[in-house]
Amino acid sequence: MSDVLAVAEHRQGELRDVSGELVTAGQELTDSTGGALHLAIINGAVEEFADDLSLDGVDTIHTVDHGEEFNHDVYLQTLTQLYDELDPEYVVTPHTVNGMDYAPALAAEVDLPLAPDVIDFTNGDGLTVTREQYGGKVETTIDVAGDGAVVTVRPTEWSRTETAGEATVEAVDAGIDDGAVGSTVTGFEAAAMGDIDISEAEFIVSVGRGIEEEENLDLIEDLADALDATFAASRPIVDNGWVEPGRQVGQSGKVVTPDVYIAIGISGAVQHVAGMKTSDTIVAINTDPDAPIFDIADYGIVDDLFDVVPQLIEQFE
C-alpha cells in the first residue's frame, strides 16, 4: 500500500495539459501499489487549479501558495517536505523544461533514482520503464532498482484524465526558507519570431539536417515556391542560423496543423514531432528507412532528397 505523489504544472496563470496526463500516469501507478494518489499544486492560482484538478483517482490535493510562477527552489523545498510527510513510493513529474529544472534536484535531495522522459511503465515486481534512445531509433526497457523513484513522464504519452472526482484539498504551510531560494524569475519574453506565422499554413514543406549545407536550402525553397507551399524547418537548421526562428516547427517553435506536411531530411526527433504530428497527411522523404519520422508518416519515400526534390520541382514548374 504505497502512495504516489504527482506534481501539476502551470505557467502564466494557466494549467498545462500535462497536469491531467500526470493524474492518469499517477493513477496507473496507484492501481499497482494500492495506495493513494496525491497531487501537489505549487504556486499560481492554487484554489482554481485545485478545482480543475479534482479529478477521478486523485485522493488528496496539496496546495502551496508561495508566488505566482514556477520557482525550482520553492518546488524543491515543498516536494521534499511532502515526500518526508507522505512517504510515497513514486513521485511523478512532467518531463518538461520546468520539470527538468526540479525533478533531478528532488531525486538527488531525497536520494531516489530518477527515471527521466519515460513513455511507458509497468509496476509489478518493481518498476520497469520504457524510454527512447538514440533520438528514437530504439526503445529500451529498464528495471529501476530501489524503494521508489522519481519518474518524469513525456507529455502526450498518457491521455488526460477529464472525469471530475472528489479530492480533498489541503493548503500546506511549506515553511519555505526564502534564504535558500537562489533564483528569481524577473519576467517572460516571447522568443524573436520575425513576421512569419507558419501556424496557420495549410501546406508545409519542411527541411531538416539532411540538407547538409546552407547553400542547399535553395533547393527546398524552390520546391516550396513551385508547390506554392509554406517553407519551414526543424530545430537544427534554425540553431545553425540558416533559417529564421519564426519558421521553426516543434516543441520550442511553432505547432502546425496543415492539410499536408512534407518532411524532407528530417529524422523526426520527439521535439519536432510534437510540433507537427496532428497534420492531416504527413509525407517523409529520407534516406534512412529507420528514421523515427516514418513512425508517424502516412506516406514515405526512402531515397536521397537531392535526387527526389529536383524531380518534383520539374513536375510542378
Binding site: R11, Q12, H72, T96, V97, N98, M100, D101, Y102, A103, P104, A105, A107, A108, P113, L114, P116, Q133, Y134, K137, V138, T141, I142, D143, V144, G182, S183, T184, G187, F188, A190, A191, F203, L227, A229, R235, P236, D239, N240, G241, Q251, S252, K254, V255, D259, V260, V283, D288, P289, D290, P292, F294, Y299, G300, I301, D303, D307, V308, Q311, F316
Partner: protein, 264 residues
C-alpha cells in the same frame, strides 16, 4: 573565474543497423562530442575570450577512446581536461543520471569551479537530468535549458533566459556559483582551427580513477538495469512510394493533387 564544462562522448547509430542482444551492434556505432556539450564548451570559451583570467576545464567520464572527443573540446579552446575512468566504471553499462552526477560531484569538489556548464541532454540517452542533479549534490544554484547567459567574473548573480515550450523564454537571475544546462542554439560552436588542433595535443589531460576522487565502489552502482532494446513498432501504416526517382516523384505529385493542395 574557473568554468567546468561537462563533456560526454556519445554513441551515434548509423542509418542501417543491427541489434545484438540488448545493444546496437558495435560496428554500427560511431563516437562523437555530444551536440549540446559542444554549445556548452563554446559558451565557456567565449566567456574566456571576453574576460581575463578565465580557465576552462572539461570533465568527461569515459574510456581512453574518448580522449579523441576531449581533444576536440581542447582544440576549440578549453584549457585543460579531466577524464575519469577505471574497470569498475567500464562494468557499469548503464549509469543512472544521479549516479553520473555523483561521479561529477567528486570532480567539482576537487576543482571548485565558479560555474559549471553542461549540455541540456545527451544525443544518445537523453536523460536531460545530470546537470541539475549535480547542482543539488554540490549545493550550487542552477538553471535548466538556458539559451542566453550573462555572467561577469566576480559577480554574485548571473542572468539567464530559460527556453520554455512554445516560444516563451523565462528571464531569471541565479545566484552564483551555479550549474547551467545549455540549450542548442545559444551560440554558434566554432570549428577547431588547425592551430587549435595542434595546440590541443600539448594541453593537459589528466586521468583519474574514482578512488583518486574519494569515491567507493558503493558510489558506482546504477539503479538502472537494461532489460531490452528493440526497434519501436511504427504507429502508422506508412505507404511507401517506390520505384526509380521519377516514379517516386510521380506518385507524390499524384498524392498532392488528390489532397487538393496543388493545382493538377
Amino acid at each position: 573565474m574557473k568554468i567546468l564544462v561537462t563533456v560526454k562522448e556519445v554513441e551515434e547509430v548509423e542509418d542501417d543497423f543491427e541489434i545484438d542482444g540488448n545493444a546496437v551492434a558495435e560496428t554500427y556505432l560511431n563516437y562523437d562530442l555530444n551536440e549540446w556539450d559542444d554549445y556548452a564548451v563554446e559558451e565557456a570559451v567565449q566567456l574566456g575570450e571576453e574576460h581575463d583570467d578565465v580557465e576552462v576545464v572539461t570533465v568527461t567520464i569515459g574510456p581512453e577512446r574518448s580522449d579523441e572527443t576531449i581533444r576536440q573540446a581542447l582544440a576549440k579552446g578549453a584549457d585543460r581536461a579531466i577524464r575519469v575512468w577505471d574497470d569498475a566504471l567500464a562494468d557499469l553499462t548503464m549509469p543512472d543520471p544521479v549516479t553520473t552526477a555523483k561521479l561529477l560531484s567528486a570532480v567539482v569538489d576537487e576543482e571548485e569551479p565558479d560555474l559549471v556548464l553542461s549540455g541540456v541532454q545527451s544525443d544518445d540517452t537523453a536523460y536531460g537530468a545530470t546537470g541539475v542533479a549535480l547542482a543539488r549534490l554540490i549545493d550550487y544554484q542552477w538553471a535548466a535549458v538556458v539559451n542566453h547567459l550573462e555572467v561577469e567574473p566576480g559577480a554574485e548573480t548571473a542572468s539567464v533566459h530559460r527556453e520554455l515550450e512554445g516560444g516563451v523564454e523565462e528571464l531569471t537571475d541565479v545566484d552564483l556559483p551555479a550549474v547551467f544546462t545549455i540549450q542548442s542554439g545559444i551560440n554558434e560552436p566554432r570549428y577547431a582551427s588547425l592551430r587549435g588542433i595542434r595546440q590541443a595535443q600539448s594541453k593537459p589531460l589528466d586521468v583519474y580513477e574514482p578512488s583518486d576522487l574519494g569515491l567507493s565502489a558503493e558510489d558506482l552502482t546504477s539503479a538502472f538495469e537494461l532489460t531490452s532494446l528493440y526497434e519501436p513498432e511504427s504507429e502508422t501504416e506508412t505507404t511507401l512510394f517506390e520505384g526509380d526517382t521519377e516514379e517516386e516523384a510521380d506518385q507524390l505529385a499524384g498524392l498532392l493533387n488528390e489532397k487538393g493542395v496543388v493545382e493538377g
